[in-house]
Symmetry: C2
Amino acid sequence: MEKVTPRILPGFMELLPADQILFNDMYDKIREVYESFGFLPLDTPVIELSEVLLAKAGGETEKQIYRFQKGDNDLSLRFDLTVPLARYVAQHQNDLVFPFKRYQMSKVYRGERPQKGRFREFYQCDIDIIGGDDLDILYDAEMPAVIYHVFKKLGIGDFTIRINNRKVLGGFFASLGLSDKIEEILRIIDKIEKIGKDKVVEELVKIGVPEESTDKIIDFITITGDRKQMLESLRALGVEDESFVLGVNELETVSDAMVMFGMPEENFRIDLSIARGLDYYTGTVYETTINGHPEFGSVCSGGRYDNLTGYYTDKKLPGIGISIGLTRLFSQLRDNGLIAPKTGSMAKVLVIPMDKDVLPYAVQTANTFRANGIPSDVYYGTKGMKQKMKYAARMGVAYAAIIGTDEATNGVLALKDMNGEGGQKTLSVEEAIEILKN
Amino acid sequence: MEKVTPRILPGFMELLPADQILFNDMYDKIREVYESFGFLPLDTPVIELSEVLLAKAGGETEKQIYRFQKGDNDLSLRFDLTVPLARYVAQHQNDLVFPFKRYQMSKVYRGERPQKGRFREFYQCDIDIIGGDDLDILYDAEMPAVIYHVFKKLGIGDFTIRINNRKVLGGFFASLGLSDKIEEILRIIDKIEKIGKDKVVEELVKIGVPEESTDKIIDFITITGDRKQMLESLRALGVEDESFVLGVNELETVSDAMVMFGMPEENFRIDLSIARGLDYYTGTVYETTINGHPEFGSVCSGGRYDNLTGYYTDKKLPGIGISIGLTRLFSQLRDNGLIAPKTGSMAKVLVIPMDKDVLPYAVQTANTFRANGIPSDVYYGTKGMKQKMKYAARMGVAYAAIIGTDEATNGVLALKDMNGEGGQKTLSVEEAIEILKN
């Protein structure tokens, strides 16, 4: 038979079991924290009607969409989880309780040119809170509090959640007489970490920002200091624009609340250069960086939006959301040696019957292990003992429970520590359970 | 702004939160059992190259595929998890340890005409075991043992796992001189529960089975009896075909082992009418029915295959697999009232601060709850107490922890049982934790 080379598309992450276990462990930890804060699960379709999904899209986004025809339907694969959320909330608004807190941790699709660190299929782990009519500013502080617990639990090193407020930025640009250029300026300064100060100035000039204003913008977004100092510096500017004043107040309320929520000051700071490229943000915005790894970029971003559902419903549904790009984060952490698989086995113990006669006892032992919460595998092959032990070693299981005629007769087993440290001991099943439970 | 009607495609299941919690609970239970048997997680891409994914497909399957062009690539969405597994194993055979036990619980796509009980996007929950060169017949018994534990854990009522063996069927048809029609006959008799005996006979005649043989076939596949009786009846037929004899021996070994694995006899039986439509099965085959609900059809099916990876590699990789169609099963159970949501809340308790002054204490209380493993939500809105309690009631949370100035001052809280049974009690945080943990 002619063979087809088994392969996947570039830009798709597919893992070997040990890495997949590690990935799932991160996934499960994020989910656990999200649920501990009461976020409800959601699972929207991967395929949506293009008319619905792309109601708002355009430009760069639209080019990346996997879009196709099936029968009479013009279909698209979702490119994020935010637009499907907007559609879902608008569609089911009468059945939902607001504030509606939901998480979704699913794959999204972007047909980008594949390059290192860019994926065409990747997991986003989103939380959003949608208000019924309004949504208290304190929810803006709950978001980073959740993320703080997530990153603590992931245990992947120190991190900084950087917050800003779009009203502060917009208000400041307006005070420079640049009201008509706010969105363009936001998109340009959002790139400062990637392209540097000079390029930002260049691009600002290009869109018609006067040179004296570019200096002021750069000075502004590079103001540094601790939380209190930043707020003082902002107020000391004497900007009277209404949006600016409101934004500074929000920034103060949110950052004060973050402290109240138990976040250590070293894990967050106000950073006026955080703008976020997406145009639907209207207030608080977030980015998160792993300390010592600026090259990772932001690993968790989001913000406040006033009206995400405007394409689907007249009802105003303000919300706030934040998202972890898990596939990318995982691949960065792994490629930089910050995480590594601990095991390639899902079972804690491999039960090895030495011959067919002891099978019933071996199976019963494995069942007892499982009933005690210990994931257990049994080797049913008829190979020799050496082959069986080699299998246990290769699969990376922590323990082997070897059962021969003597063990079966006496109702015991020989528990072998596969890392060699504990050697091999003859134990009762109950004794083995105690060891395997740790 | 002109509005787009928010909606999804027919044939896609999207749930409200309470149903989604229920669905996830089933998903998690299946996953837990799969992992307890040592199956490794796998997560293959949704999009594959058509050349690779459709190496084997054809006919009905191919028509259902979501297939499209993106750039230079001819792409398809996976229609099951078995073909991607074959591709994965062939591709990574040098990095895997055999027998390779994996589970995958993911969405698959079939662009069928939507009808009740048929989905275009649905979860399959698969386990498969792939042998390196051979795979012991005992693994054929482990599959239903796993499924037995899954259905026990799901607690959705009595069920019967029905097993058969393709060699028995093929051997019997060969003994009737129908060697050249085996696959066609299998496909026809597989439909007997749907179309009935008469239609089966009609279709058999249509493909050229002599009338005397159709009677024999019907008599054969409707043999009944308990496990021992069935095996006796099969042997009493005196069929000498080699495949038949081997198949009967396999059926005996597998069913004996199922008893050894601890499966009660009432949860499985040999059923000679089980054929499975797919042509890659070569030995043991399974179907599972919920007792009293034949209209659900088989909720969990699978079988033994000798060479699934033949399109990708010369190495022979025999395996065995079984799959639960979770989306369909969930929708059937729900629509028939066999399952129902218990709660629409992910949080066990909603902490309600009566005013802004007690916020720090309220937040701290929620943090303490979470640190003790109790999912907790806090209401941050500024609405009146009546509104806050209404929110707690509507969200379906089991308890509300009400905190006013007195509670904050005294380091206590008023815990209200939202189901009304326990009323409202002033408790210390520690006392509340004890109650919430149950």
